[in-house]
């Protein structure tokens, strides 16, 4: 692997990306599997029950990482979409496309685990709590983004339109977050991760949770690399097929 780092934009070269990820993907995938399994096994089998929440604290180990991923994946899509708009690097926008379905799955996982957790804790599966509600809205944004990709035939046009949507959508997602906070005070926990919080989650729960978060992040990276590689191939396949059709015509 000889590469001279003239510019970070070189990474956006599909060929370079393919070659680099060809080597990196197996490593990341194995790492992801190990850390993911380790974190969940630790969390599920080797942590005590909470005195108040009982065994339900175990949901924490998937709920929180999934929720964090859901938000951060959208942020990543925003950045890669911007790179496409400004520098027009195909890999960038294809990465955004690949990330969307992962982000949607993460949102769904956070929603479902949250709902299941809500039953014993709040006595209801669903509550129009601000945190939950803004996740539902985020889910809609993911669905809209993916539907737009599907609906537009020309891949470059689709890339442009979805990038603009991602940009505008991000602004409105943040607006919705504040609107929703204003609308309902809610039941959900505050951010207990923050350093200055008075009452942090006890270390017994906290360390395995960190491992789980790392596992989710690694899993995301592995999947995004895999899917972006597929998208690049699909894009090239599309080009070849178009060409064949034109040659035959």
């Amino acid at each position: 692997m000889s590469f001279n780092m003239n510019s970070i934009w070189e990474w956006a070269n599909p060929r370079k990306f393919m070659r680099w990820t060809d080597k990196a993907l197996p490593v990341v995938a194995v790492l992801a599997a190990v850390v993911f399994v380790a974190g969940l096994v630790w969390g599920f089998f080797f942590t005590p029950d909470d005195y108040r929440q009982g065994a339900t604290v175990k949901i924490f180990y998937i709920h929180v990482p999934a929720a964090m991923m859901a938000i951060n994946i959208w942020a990543m899509m925003l950045v890669t979409s911007l790179i496409w708009i400004v520098r027009r690097h195909h890999v960038s926008v294809l990465a955004a496309k690949s990330a969307a379905s992962i982000g949607m799955t993460m949102t769904l996982i956070a929603l479902i685990t949250g709902a299941v957790w809500g039953k014993p804790m709040w006595g209801t599966y669903w509550e129009w709590d601000p945190r939950l509600t803004s996740f539902l809205i985020l889910f809609l944004f993911y669905v809209g983004y993916m539907a737009l990709w599907e609906a537009v035939e020309n891949p470059d046009t689709a890339a442009d339109l979805t990038s603009v949507l991602c940009l505008v959508g991000s602004v409105f997602a943040i607006l919705s977050r504040y609107a929703v906070l204003f609308w309902n005070q809610g039941l959900h926990q505050g951010a207990s991760l923050s350093m200055d919080a008075e009452e942090n989650v006890a270390d017994v729960y906290w360390y395995p949770a960190l491992v789980c978060i790392a596992g989710f992040v690694l899993l995301f990276i592995a999947l995004v690399l895999l899917r972006t590689r597929t998208e690049i191939r699909a894009r090239r396949l599309h080009a070849i097929e178009l060409r064949e059709r034109a040659e035959n015509a």
Binding site: L148, D160, L165, L167, V180
Partner: protein
């Protein structure tokens, strides 16, 4: 530009109803709700602000469906793109025309419909004010959605999917102001926030919409 504005207004009139239809939909939706929910008036009074706002929002949404699609199909959009007027201006003018033919009539009709839903007396004032402040945002956000989906056949439903989440903040603040107003609370903050959204949408979204239109024409 002014030409374009008048043309859009004229077209809205000529193509069967213009002013009337957005309104008609609003009316029908608001009358459907009691059929669905049941006729209990105390019940209706509670949900009235929300239903009225949701109704106004849907009426807007449905009528903007084809804001650019018709121009795209008959070739006008290509011609407008090559014309000596900025596309951002075209979008803004069309959104404005949409607001005048749809949003404004809704504002005027809303009190009558509030009556059907037993809306609280104190809330009427706030209903009108929030609709007046909020519906322009609906038209401009809608113009963006319409521009994104202009080149797709049957884009209407996809557009709803893209636009409705963008409408949520406007809806929340609108309905919240009316509810608080009805109970005599302070409404300054949500109203100011709603006005901010409208101002932002009017200032920025024409640029996003114009970008989408240029891509679609390609």
């Amino acid at each position: 530009m002014i030409r374009l504005f008048w043309r859009d207004i004229t077209l809205a009139f000529r193509s069967g109803g213009g002013f009337g239809l957005g309104l008609g939909f609003f009316l029908i939706l608001v009358t459907l709700v009691p059929f669905g929910v049941g006729p209990d008036s105390a019940q209706l009074q509670i949900i009235a602000p929300g239903i009225l706002w949701v109704g106004a929002l849907l009426a807007c949404l449905l009528s903007l469906d084809r804001m650019f699609a018709l121009d795209y199909e008959d070739g006008s959009l290509d011609l407008l793109l090559t014309a000596p007027i900025p596309l951002e201006g075209v979008v803004a003018v069309k959104a404005l025309a949409h607001w005048i033919t749809t949003g404004l009539p809704l504002v005027i009709a809303a009190p009558a419909l509030g009556f059907l839903l037993h809306l609280d007396m104190a809330a009427y004032k706030w209903l009108i004010i929030t609709l007046l402040v909020g519906t322009p945002a609906l038209s401009f956000i809608g113009a963006f959605g319409a521009a994104l989906t202009v080149s797709l056949k049957r884009g209407g439903l996809l557009m709803s999917l893209l636009v409705l989440p963008l409408y949520i903040p406007t809806l929340i603040f609108g309905a919240e102001v009316v509810r608080r107003g009805a109970e005599g609370f302070l409404v300054g903050t949500p109203l100011a926030l709603q006005a901010g959204i409208t101002a932002g949408a009017i200032a920025l979204l024409p640029f996003a919409a114009a970008a989408a239109l240029r891509v679609a024409a390609r």
